[in-house]
Symmetry: none
Subunit: 427 residues, 2 copies
Amino acid sequence: MEREELFKKISVENDKKMVLLVLDGLGGLPLNGRTELETARTPNLDLLAAESELGLSHPIAPGITPGSGPAHLSLFGYDPLQHEIGRGILEALGVGVEVSARSVAVRGNFATLENGLVSDRRAGRIATEKNREIIAYLSGKIKKIEDVEVRLYSGEEHRFVLVLTGDGLDDRLTDADPEATGKPLLYATAKSEPAAKTARIVNLFIDRLTSELAGRPPANTCLLRGFAKYPVIPSMAERFKLRAAAIAVYPMYRGLAQLVGMDILETGRTIGDQVATLKKHYAEHDFFFLHVKKTDSYGEDGDFAHKVGTIEEFDHWLPEVLELTPDVLVVTGDHSTPARMHGHSWHPNPLLLKSPYQRYLPSGGGALDAIACGPPDGQGCGKAGAVPARAKFSEGACARGILGRMYAMDVLPLMMANALKFKKYGA
Amino acid sequence: MEREELFKKISVENDKKMVLLVLDGLGGLPLNGRTELETARTPNLDLLAAESELGLSHPIAPGITPGSGPAHLSLFGYDPLQHEIGRGILEALGVGVEVSARSVAVRGNFATLENGLVSDRRAGRIATEKNREIIAYLSGKIKKIEDVEVRLYSGEEHRFVLVLTGDGLDDRLTDADPEATGKPLLYATAKSEPAAKTARIVNLFIDRLTSELAGRPPANTCLLRGFAKYPVIPSMAERFKLRAAAIAVYPMYRGLAQLVGMDILETGRTIGDQVATLKKHYAEHDFFFLHVKKTDSYGEDGDFAHKVGTIEEFDHWLPEVLELTPDVLVVTGDHSTPARMHGHSWHPNPLLLKSPYQRYLPSGGGALDAIACGPPDGQGCGKAGAVPARAKFSEGACARGILGRMYAMDVLPLMMANALKFKKYGA
């Protein structure tokens, strides 16, 4: 039996509540001997850690650095190598575009054409404001090609997203991008027969756009890369019998949650707003995914201090989540984004799970995780006198945690088990 | 997407250097409370361990004892259950025979035929010297059968290797071995239609050999087992974009490295010679596999003391490797060969990885692995007074190491990540 089939077979509904708190890019690397998480003052997380099971999770597999798409699929319990999310769809999700199973999305660059050759692949990185003007203009001009609906969305600077919606569309196309300057436009070609119609529509679109923008340099043509259909992924309702909801500020994460059929809850911009949303809708669902973005953004910026600050801000709001007393609570990341690396990395995610069925219960010295080593602050293990007053939620403690090292896609199944939402497999 | 396809997709070339130091059969079992590795005085390895991440790796999977073939494929980043190396090929590699994609190899026994029945399956375990004489004689007599080239190579005692090279050869044959005395010769049969030609050639060979050796007991016929074609395995260049080189003394390991497309560097017999070879060719490749055989040989002999001695000899040469300052360094085994068991075992391999991107950095007590428990010698963690002056590279420290427990086939991907030779997967 396949893993996915197994889940479908053993999942049952009950009224237990599961909350998955994701700090995007949480894991880090040490600066002056401590990671971002170890540097942050997190009294509430630390108290929670002393009552929880800790571990580390590989987003995909050891050594693999994931993008946001596969990293989140893992967290939602899906095998990220079995369900690929094409670049165009992810871009569309990123700008908050609604896409359906009948859509093909692709990311575009405005570019410059001179004497029939591409002279600038980014049209001089035009201002986002200018981009919006052009998109507004084009949206009035190009609404349909044959029977296919055309929609255009501005991104930052020279970037945009094209969404085609209609019958018989297919994403098996070559990129329409010469990938170098000094070359003529390159049209899309079908890699497979069923994509012939889509290739024709795409190429008609390129010609229409180029003729509409004729004589308006620097942005007088476009390059299109990463054609992608909306992936067909069984919903969390179908696979896990969950009534799942997402509380995320950024469009991409709302989009990823929507891919697996979560309800998207309206929320404000701050972590406090998100926690308020959780409280407001707590009765309505049995699984909540709450996504904190800024840990990742600051990591990408190489801004150690602000990443620490975001973790501390999260810690401040944590007690309000705990007051809801969810049956199963997980705090983790989707991947690591060490400020030192200015980007995503392969390092495993810190993972905390609290449940009434965890094997080690809190007690003065009884909880294995509670005596795990923290950062080298004189409170860790090995210290004379030994059992520390409290644990620390840190990569170090997680590396020694009772949950060991697991694949991120196994975390949701573990939550399901702890919420008694999985029946026995086999007799 | 399959694992292998993923690696191909995300691998990039850069100028970072990776060195994989393999002590064959390194892992052991305690005698008087300490394993071979724990008994060895290894000041250089221990200093290195204090600056590295430690863990344990399963050669294949928990509980599986591997042969050298699958154990090395794992170390090279290949799934050993996806790429089988037939016995005949491994024997051929073991005696240093060149085999090509057009070859089928098989191992042979000289045997004794009396009155049409096999009376001794090993021809009285004839001396290796005698074996060489017979092979020299036969090699002059049987050079070709139909259009197929025939080559013969002596092994130890009654063993030899037959390599057939030609067009349209196939290894889907039954063994030509009655597997008991008192039975007539058994001819090979094709298990699949395309192997019919090979079966015919093999059976003609058996008849030719038997008639050439007629009246020369004890070795007057042969039994053939384990027909195998040279496996088609994508090279490390193709899969990981690596310029890989092997520094190994024994033919089998050179052969295994060649299977995955490594360049085989000429080297001497000692560990010192091998390290000198590494230094000499350091500029020319970005991945080096250096293989130390004798830890395994002594383990197989049940010779605890000499296995300890080989580890100490390796330790002596380690600083010369460190002087090269490879970007990513791994020290590990391919499988365990506990002297106590006189053979390979399933116990996981000690694993040490050093990289600028490891999560825990060396410092006075900061390196998690440095305060990991060593063998029970009163210096381990939990002891009052505690942070030990230095770590120990040992099974005990590895069992508590930050890398946890992983599959050996994930070690190379982890090295790739640490050398920044993997791009992000997905967006």
